[in-house]
């Protein structure tokens, strides 16, 4: 800025006879009475000491003076006398570029909220919460369906890693995201959404396996315009969703409705067809792309005596038979071995099927169980007897090769094993015998040998996994075969990944895998379609949330069917919540790292350097921003970052 003009002009003479001073902008700041010498009548401020004294206002409007360019004309002070009684100025200070004092600057940087990073399917939870708060359920379901075809299913059976990631969990309790997803799905179940597909493509794709991964891949490929044929070994679609998960967790009406939504997009279904058995692998050669999502069909064994008894079966087999044939008589007493969700599904199903004495044996403690804690709690409530630190060592069979009892040994926990869980060690001499009428072993699954061509092997060297076969060539792959986390939502995510890989290969466009991944979370279909830009693709921790703006409030509770009613049948146990609860829950959202136009920055900026634009976004007038950081501190949700001033405004 320039220095004071030392050569004050002998200005015009004001009515009082006092000279008019001419001073350049820097010094104009030192004048309480910055004003031009030819005021307009309208702009007079009438202030005075005993008489009305006018302080002339500048001819130029404040707006004209703002905007960064150096003034070429000097500011003139008004007549010196008579003065008003106190310093008052109608001049503008817009020429004072306080931004030059800055060494840090604020920047609006929307982040990826941790819930979305936590969701393998990259569900835009934060945007959905905004829509739910506004009662816009159709827009909300469309947002979800852009990333996940099965909100009604995930809203019931997902292990909701989004809630584990929710920053609110470190404040009071995480948002009930899963309940909200379910609420939206149920609320919009009757809408005809007319989901748009991409331009019709001539290429065809074959998918083997109609579980969540195969169906998700089919869904995304159909929305991309491909001709999709799906081969399913069972008679009906759904895989684990239909043949594993019991209806009290996932009502079949919901399952059918969501699977039908995919079929309605034009899916050709070949059910009851096991590829490699009913038709040869070579039958798939005519398709432009092929994908395998067969799941893990083979149950692991304990490797102990008596496992081949007539009345011993695997958890998957037990559930499959129940889900296809309905309840059957298994005797008065049941022993189930295992600690995962399959084991819990088995015991809860058995209770409902009328088995009065259901015993669960697990070799570690409750804390180490891989099953969802809530499911274990419910099993407990429903009367399952759980023996922890208990390992079966043999099944005692009678002459008809029927198990009559299980001999087990007590365990103690030792140092962590390769799965980082404490290793259970048998306690010699602690063996005991449990009599039983039936045994179910549910200790995990592995891949079925017939699920792929004989010479096929999984290859993970690309951005996405492939199955390579010398005879049959390459297959895209999804589901449990390719996933470390054997969950429904991971299967859905892997189906999406395969669909994106197929599309990018067939269309010859390179998917920017880093950009379509939400921070270090899952892949976003919305981003792949270019409907959403990655922006500053990183997440945000709780320490960036300003707790002063959020009242502590516990999350919505899940109403459940009473134990007495639920064990009498297969009615859905979790009842979901009401609309009022959805809105309350949506209001709890921190909107981590995402500007909600709350106006705090706009209100708090002491330099009025935050500008609000008509579209409810903000920009910063950096020529005035002193870099004080109040905007970033008062942002309730960390949507403003303070960065070194040398950095560009739009870099990164």
């Amino acid at each position: 800025m320039s220095k004071p003009n030392q050569t004050a002009q002998p200005g015009k003479t004001a009515t009082t006879g006092a000279p008019v001073r001419t001073i350049e902008p820097a010094v104009a700041a030192t004048g309480g009475l910055a004003a031009d010498d030819e005021p307009t009548a309208e702009s007079h401020a009438v202030i005075g000491d005993g008489s009305n004294v006018s302080v002339p206002a500048p001819n130029k409007s404040a707006a004209e003076r703002q905007g960064g360019s150096e003034r070429s004309e000097p500011i003139r002070f008004g007549p010196s006398f008579p003065l008003p009684i106190a310093p008052i100025s109608q001049g503008t200070t817009a020429f004072i570029h306080t931004g030059s004092w800055r060494y840090l600057k604020p920047r609006y940087v929307n982040k990826v909220p941790p819930c979305r990073v936590g969701c393998p399917a990259a569900m835009p939870v934060e945007r959905v919460m905004t829509l739910v708060e506004g009662g816009k359920y159709e827009a909300a379901i469309r947002e979800i369906l852009d990333e996940n075809p099965f909100p009604g299913i995930c809203g019931r059976v997902c292990y909701h890693p989004c809630e584990t990631a929710c920053n609110r969990g470190q404040y009071d309790s995480p948002l009930a995201i899963q309940l909200t997803e379910r609420f939206i799905a149920d609320e919009t179940a009757d809408l005809d959404l007319q989901l748009e597909g991409g331009p019709r493509q001539k290429e065809s794709v074959a998918i083997v396996g109609g579980g969540p991964a195969g169906m998700a891949a089919a869904y995304f490929l159909l929305r991309l315009g491909y001709q999709v044929t799906l081969f399913e070994a069972e008679n009906r679609l759904g895989g684990i969703l239909r043949y594993g998960i019991p209806p009290y967790r996932l009502p079949r009406a919901i399952l059918d409705q969501e699977l039908n939504r995919v079929v309605a997009l034009g899916l050709k279904v070949q059910s009851g067809v096991r590829v490699g058995r009913d038709i040869p692998w070579s039958a798939l050669r005519g398709f432009n792309a092929r994908m395998l999502a067969p799941g893990l069909g083979k149950s692991r064994l304990l490797g102990i005596a008596g496992e081949d008894a007539q009345n011993a079966e695997s958890g998957l087999e037990f559930l499959r038979r129940f889900n296809t044939e309905g309840p059957r008589h298994i005797g008065k007493k049941l022993v189930v071995i295992g600690g995962g969700n399959t084991a819990i599904d088995v015991v809860r199903t058995a209770i409902r099927a009328g088995c009065g004495d259901v015993n669960l044996l697990y070799r570690r403690t409750r804390a180490e169980m891989p099953a969802l804690a809530g499911e274990v709690d419910e099993a407990d409530r429903e009367g399952v007897a759980m023996s922890f630190l208990s390992l079966p060592i043999r099944f005692i069979v009678d002459t008809a090769n029927r198990v009559v009892a299980v001999e087990a040994v007590k365990m103690k926990l030792s140092e962590p094993d390769e799965s980082n869980r404490p290793r259970p060690i048998p306690i010699p001499g602690s063996e005991w015998i449990i009599e039983t009428d039936h045994v179910v072993v549910a200790v995990g699954e592995s891949e079925h040998a017939s699920a792929m061509p004989d010479d096929a092997a999984l290859c993970r060297e690309q951005a996405f996994p492939l199955i390579q076969s010398g005879d049959q060539g390459e297959f895209y792959v999804g589901g449990d075969l390719s996933n470390d986390t054997l969950t429904v939502v991971s299967a859905i995510a892997s189906g999406k990944r395969a669909a994106i890989a197929i599309d990018s290969d067939l269309r010859g466009r390179l998917a920017d895998w880093k950009a379509i991944r939400v921070a270090d979370g899952g892949l976003s279909f919305t981003r792949y379609l270019g409907k959403e830009t990655p922006g500053h693709n990183r997440s945000i921790a709780i320490d960036r949330i300003n707790p002063d703006y959020f009242k502590k409030q516990e999350r919505a509770r899940t109403p459940r069917l009473s134990v007495r009613v639920r064990v009498a049948g297969f009615e859905e146990v979790n009842l979901g919540y009401a609309q009022s609860a959805a809105e309350v829950e949506a209001k709890r959202c921190f909107h981590c790292g995402v500007c909600t136009a709350c106006d705090n920055c706009y209100i708090f900026c002491p330099d009025a350097a935050v500008e609000k634009k008509p579209d409810n976004t903000f920009s910063i007038r950096y020529e005035y921003c002193k870099g004080c950081g109040i905007c970033a501190t008062e942002c309730p949700r960390g949507a403003l970052d303070m960065v070194a001033d040398e950095e560009g405004i739009n870099d990164e």
């Binding site: 004048g31 009475l33 100025s89």
Partner: protein, 393 residues
Amino acid sequence: MSERKVIMGNHAVSYGVKLARVQVISAYPITPQTQVVEMLSEMCADAVLAAKFLKVESEHSALAAVIGAATLGVRTFTATSAQGLALMHELVHWSAGSRLPLVMADVNRAMAPGWSIWPDQLDALSQRDTGWLQLYCESNQEILDLTLLAYRLAESLSMPVMVVYDAFVLSHTSEPVEIPDQSEVDAYLPALASRTKLDLKTPAAFGGLTSPEYYFEFRYMMQQAHDRALVLMDEIGAEFGRRFGRNYGALETIDCDDAELILVTAGASSSTTRVVVQERRRRGQNIGIVKLRLFRPFPVDAIRRVLRKARRVAVIDRNLSVGCGGIFAQEIRAALCDLSDRPEILGYVAGLGGRDITLALLNALIDDALERKAEEGYLVFWGLKEETLYVER
């Protein structure tokens, strides 16, 4: 119709503020001021007083809030005491320089440490150079009356006025007080027509950077306002007397015409002094009292007129400017020093931190003032415990 109520000094302020139809009140509680704003908040809650009551987080904010409100041209009130007033200090200057017609009650309380809630004039006197007018009260009636008069003064001059009274001796002591009729007060104190007003249609910056070219003149104008205040005080004090039957001037003089010795007091100890002096008069001693009501502006001419006839003046300061002496004594010496026939001036500091100024103490003080060698009377600590007198620390 006016009515008589037996009320505490603090509530006398509250009634005064209510009668003044104040529009914005902001205060932060501090003993012994709290009851002032407690009652006002009740009046607001009960819709007896149509004022906006702003709760704030500190005295600094309280004064800032009323500065903002007054800039919009509304009548305001705040009250505080001691540390609270000290915390306001920056804005005490600011409000005067802004020429805002604020009225604030300050309950005289000793400055800490040692932590004290008892009377001492130093808190208010520490603000003497800010430009605020200061009125010192002797009774609860005077508190109410001077609160009303303060608004007239403030708004006539566009200067802020502080109404000052003693902690507990007045603030928490009940006395009969005549509460004037609202219509009478309305006639005495018309609605505020602010001369410096923020008009949102014509935005302006108030109190901005002021170059050496202008600052000096603004201060000069503040002095002019104080000069006018001396005249105005007599005028509006007399008008108050015509309307309400109680006259108020810058000073109150009692038996000074023939007085050999004049005692100068301010605040509640003036009442005790009256009793002692009445008794002395009965015994034939020509003793008078000058009670300082208006301390800023300092009524130099009136002081000279009344004190120059006496042989001796004994100033009783319930305050100490450490390193110099009683503040009233300094000001009076300064006012009289260029008179050729000036009285001998003795400066007594008494009753600091709420130590009682009793009849006995004043009787002994008068004896001392009549006898003491003038050259040994510059600064006399009156009423110290004897054992401390000879100890150097």
